[in-house]
């Protein structure tokens, strides 16, 4: 099997095939509990042997198969290996003889186990991870004679990182070390020390086994009376199934908004898969990070009975009672249990890319259905690929390295900690065109706009809507609301451009409104002392802007008091309303990031044309 080409069986779901086990004809297969497991460990530590032996000892092999392979080995003078048995099973499948070995599975009295992927393929880390990501429990093999090796460590770490807490560590080939308790204890001690050293503190049980002779596999071995624990399989059977996802708070990442008008279908459907929880018709739901809210009008489906509630696991769709603009990547939840929202989070990550993950560069984050530019905010710890031992002063994350780091997205995203909700707590990172890393979120990290964002969230969730919806206004005005901010030093013609823009938009029939910072300063800010904090000035400006924007206007502002540095704070208060920051800089020396930079020498017309192009680009207007 170790010679076979790298591959992964692509199953994402348990498979209920029972074709090898007779059923009464026509009867539904009994719903036996199932568990996906993965078998990992360093090459030659006995993974294939374990699988072969398990299949044989639990009666999962086709009749006569084992004998046939043994005879074939005897005939050709090769010592028998269980790996040959697995090869033979795969060959048969290639030749189309049996169909029930596409993925190995075996049964105990307690349940069915599906072994994800064949051991030989695990040698390739990408396959190991793809397989382990679907597993509910794992068996990690360590050769008693060879001891802890590179992949023993790496695989152990990855299991922890993928959130697989149910792991049996098998110290295999105990026959080769005279069934010595000392050797077993030594390996257990070393491996536990390694795990705690890298902060992987998941409960793990150790079993001394001899896979080849089937000792301590399905029953206790007489050769190791010092071992008081259960056999490997008995331990596996004690692992509980994952908690019911329906009981967790509602999370549905928005996958798409569909409106298939071509055949006269007027439904506007918010589609996605419910990761956790339940949604019911009439529920008041909120979408993060935009903070929009609506109530569920209907649950849609094709060729299904109408339903008024739907739970975790379903790829479904809803129509809403209010027409709200939401986009893919938002997370639908109930108001009381909304996900976290921010631009920074702490994560554990494994890197698979050919090129290292480096600081100061943008990558693409894919987290549930959201996709966002992301970069390293801070590298806390990098564990080296080969040793995973000490903390190395690495400035980048190399291939097969694992890291503890803080990531920063360009725009806020909705997420959860993996320990709370897996579906919205893990992500991949794309470098170029390739998925180059995967990780889990371990903590939320505040950014500078956190307080403002919380303020906006509370405000939006409690917002009292009038009888005219945002979509009604958009239809009437022919555009969505947007903020166009002219910033720059005093006396650089900001005001002139802002006026020209307001006029031009208005003359085109748009609902445009000019606001000078002074108007806010002299009124809303009247109570503030001269040395009021900049933060409070920005907050008030942002709230005023937000009010005007909810009336559907394209707001054109010009202000000396608020600069480019404050743009993200203002944005935090106006949510997902598009904004355009234009810096007027006659010196031509500014390098701060903005949507448009002008010198102040351009004609009004030129600037107006450019801004309108930007508004179109942001889909504010057609």
């Amino acid at each position: 099997m170790n010679q076979s080409p790298p591959s992964t069986s692509p199953a994402g779901l348990p498979d209920s095939r029972t074709s090898g086990h007779p059923d009464p004809a026509g009867a539904q297969p009994a719903a036996r509990p199932q568990m996906n497991i993965v078998i990992v460990g360093h090459v030659d530590h006995g993974k294939s042997t374990l699988v072969g032996r398990l299949l044989a000892d639990t009666g999962a092999l086709p009749e006569g198969k084992l004998d046939k392979v043994r005879r074939e080995c005897a005939r050709t003078g090769k010592p028998f290996e269980y790996a040959f048995l697995l090869d033979a099973l795969e060959d048969e499948q290639d030749q189309g003889i049996t169909i029930d070995t596409a993925r190995c599975f075996f049964k105990t009295a307690a349940r069915d186990y599906i072994i994800i992927d064949a051991p030989g393929h695990i040698e390739f880390l990408k396959n190991m991870i793809s397989g382990a990501a679907r597993a509910e429990a794992a068996i990690l093999m360590i050769d008693a004679k060879e001891g802890v090796r590179e992949n023993s460590r790496r695989h152990g770490y990855i299991l922890g990182m993928l959130g697989i807490k149910q792991v049996v560590v098998c110290v295999n080939k105990m026959d080769l070390v005279g069934y010595s308790q000392q050797v077993f204890d030594g390996i257990e001690k070393e491996y536990r020390a390694f795990l705690s050293g890298i902060g992987a503190v998941s409960p793990r049980q150790f079993v001394p086994i001899a896979a080849l002779s089937g000792e301590n596999l399905t029953s206790r071995s007489a050769n190791m009376p010092w071992y008081q624990g259960a056999s490997m399989l008995a331990l596996l059977d004690t692992f509980p199934k994952a908690p019911d996802k329906v009981a967790q708070p509602l999370r549905m990442p928005v996958q798409a908004i569909y409106k298939f008008t071509s055949h006269g279908d007027e439904r506007r459907i918010v589609a996605g898969r419910i990761e956790t929880g339940t949604a019911k018709v009439g529920d008041e739901v909120v979408f993060s990070p935009s903070n929009k809210s609506a109530s569920i009008r209907s649950i849609e489906g094709f060729n299904t009975a109408p339903r008024d509630a739907i739970g975790a696991g379903w790829s479904t769709g809803f129509t809403l009672s209010q027409e709200i603009y939401i986009t893919r990547g938002e997370v639908m939840s109930l108001r009381e249990h909304a996900p976290l929202v921010g631009t920074r989070f702490r994560a554990n990550l494994i890197w698979l890319g050919r090129k290292p993950l480096v600081q100061g560069r943008d990558y693409k984050l894919k987290l549930h259905t959201a996709a966002q530019p992301v970069r390293i905010h801070k590298l806390l710890k990098v564990l080296d690929a080969s040793e995973l031992a000490g903390e190395l002063a690495k400035q980048e994350v190399g291939r097969h390295d694992v890291a503890d780091l803080i990531l920063e997205t360009r725009q806020p995203v909705a997420f959860d900690l993996t320990s709370d909700i897996e579906g919205t707590g893990r992500f991949v990172i794309v470098d170029g065109y390739e998925i180059a890393g995967g990780g889990i979120i371990t903590g939320a990290v505040p950014d500078d706009q956190d307080d403002l964002r919380s303020e906006a969230r509370l405000r939006d969730f409690s917002w009292i809507h009038g009888s005219v919806g945002i979509e009604d206004r958009a239809k009437r005005f022919g555009h969505l609301p947007a903020l166009v901010m002219f910033v720059g030093k005093r006396g650089v013609s900001k005001e002139r451009y802002a006026r020209a823009l307001e006029r031009a938009l208005f003359d085109h029939g748009k609902h445009a409104y000019f606001i000078d910072g002074t108007n806010v300063l002299m009124g809303v800010d009247h109570d503030l002392t001269v040395d009021a904090t900049q933060a409070e000035l920005v907050r008030r400006f942002g709230e005023v802007a937000h009010l005007l924007l909810t009336s559907g206007a394209i707001l054109v502002s010009t202000t000396n008091a608020i600069g480019l540095a404050d743009h993200s704070s203002v944005q935090a208060l106006i949510g997902d309303t598009p904004s355009i920051a234009i810096e007027v800089d006659p010196t031509g020396r500014s390098t701060a990031s903005c949507d448009l930079r002008i010198m102040g020498t351009e004609s009004d017309q030129e600037v107006v044309t450019k801004v309108i192009a930007l508004l179109r680009q942001k889909q504010v207007m057609a």
């Binding site: 790298p6 719903a31 169909i99 993925r103």
Partner: protein
């Protein structure tokens, strides 16, 4: 949620991800039971609609029932139905059936595999890339008109299942092919937590496999549950024979079976004589030596 629900929901998710990420996406419809289930799942995913074209590669040797069934469903569901064909090879008579009468050492003789290579792989490649003629069903007249659209499709939905044979059990849900349609079995992207490979260099295209986790039995159980219409060739019409999978007439032999309806087939697969016999054993081209299918597959044949 039962097992069929789980399979269905995962397939629907994959469909929606694919539709989201490919502006130019199509679905291969072989008319067989798998791709017809696929068609049904597309309607599940898009709430009754099928917002992309269906492509059928017609080798001209398909059984007539298949073509009738295709056109009936296409008109009923108002599908954007595209048919591609290797017209040059057919005109030249360079096919297995057309040369079957020739002596074994005749240089003009075409093997089954070569025939598949041209009429299926080649025609598929040309149709997807737009270098071959595409004919589109005119929903008003029921005729096939030459399609002006020759833009390549980059995302191709395919009804492959991993239990069909070894080479397919190595597949991923989203499987990139390079410019030559080649499939690099050894170096496939990781597929983590339903995050699929959805970013591509220009020129590559991707096969998407929503049915990967389904078994033959699951397919029939689902056909029954959803009452999906299927071609009559799958059922014994009284002569004790039926087709287990559908391909070209000359290379496809019916199996001995008296299964007359979906229930009979399910019983046969669960506990009857088909229990341990793989589905494709009735297809002659698969028997032309080991690894043949993987070769064809690398080459773009489904």
């Amino acid at each position: 949620m039962d097992h069929l629900d789980q399979l269905e929901q995962q397939s629907v998710y994959i469909f929606r991800e694919a539709f989201r990420h490919f502006e130019r996406m199509c679905m291969l419809w072989s008319i067989g039971k798998d791709s017809t289930v696929l068609l049904w799942l597309a309607r599940k995913a898009f709430f009754g609609h099928i917002p992309f074209p269906l492509v059928h590669i017609d080798t001209s040797y398909k059984l007539p029932e298949m073509i009738q069934y295709r056109d009936r469903l296409a008109l009923e569901y108002k599908l954007t139905m595209i048919v591609g064909q290797d017209e040059a090879t057919l005109a030249a008579g360079a096919t297995y059936p057309a040369t079957a009468h020739l002596a074994a050492d005749d240089p003009r003789k075409v093997t089954r595999k070569q025939c598949c290579g041209a009429l299926k792989s080649g025609a598929l490649k040309a149709t997807l890339q737009g270098t071959g003629v595409r004919r589109k069903l005119n929903l008003a007249t029921g005729a096939y008109d030459i399609d002006a659209d020759r833009e390549p499709w980059h995302g191709v939905i395919v009804g492959a299942r991993s239990d069909e044979e070894g080479s397919r059990s190595k597949e991923r849900y989203f499987s990139p092919r390079d410019k030559n349609n080649a499939w690099d079995v050894g170096d496939q992207p990781p597929e983590l937590w339903n995050q699929f490979k959805t970013d591509f260099a220009p020129g590559t295209h991707v096969r998407i496999h929503p049915l990967l986790d389904w078994t033959e039995l699951n397919i029939w159980e689902y056909i029954k549950r959803e009452s999906i219409p299927t071609v009559s060739l799958y059922y014994d019409q009284g002569d004790g024979k039926r087709y287990r999978s559908l391909g070209c007439g000359p290379c496809q032999t019916p199996i001995e079976s008296t299964a007359k309806n979906v229930d009979d087939i399910i019983a046969e697969l669960r506990s009857g004589k088909l229990r341990n016999i793989a589905e494709r054993s009735g297809r002659a081209q698969d028997q032309e030596g080991r690894g043949g299918l993987e070769d064809l597959r690398r080459d773009g044949y489904m």
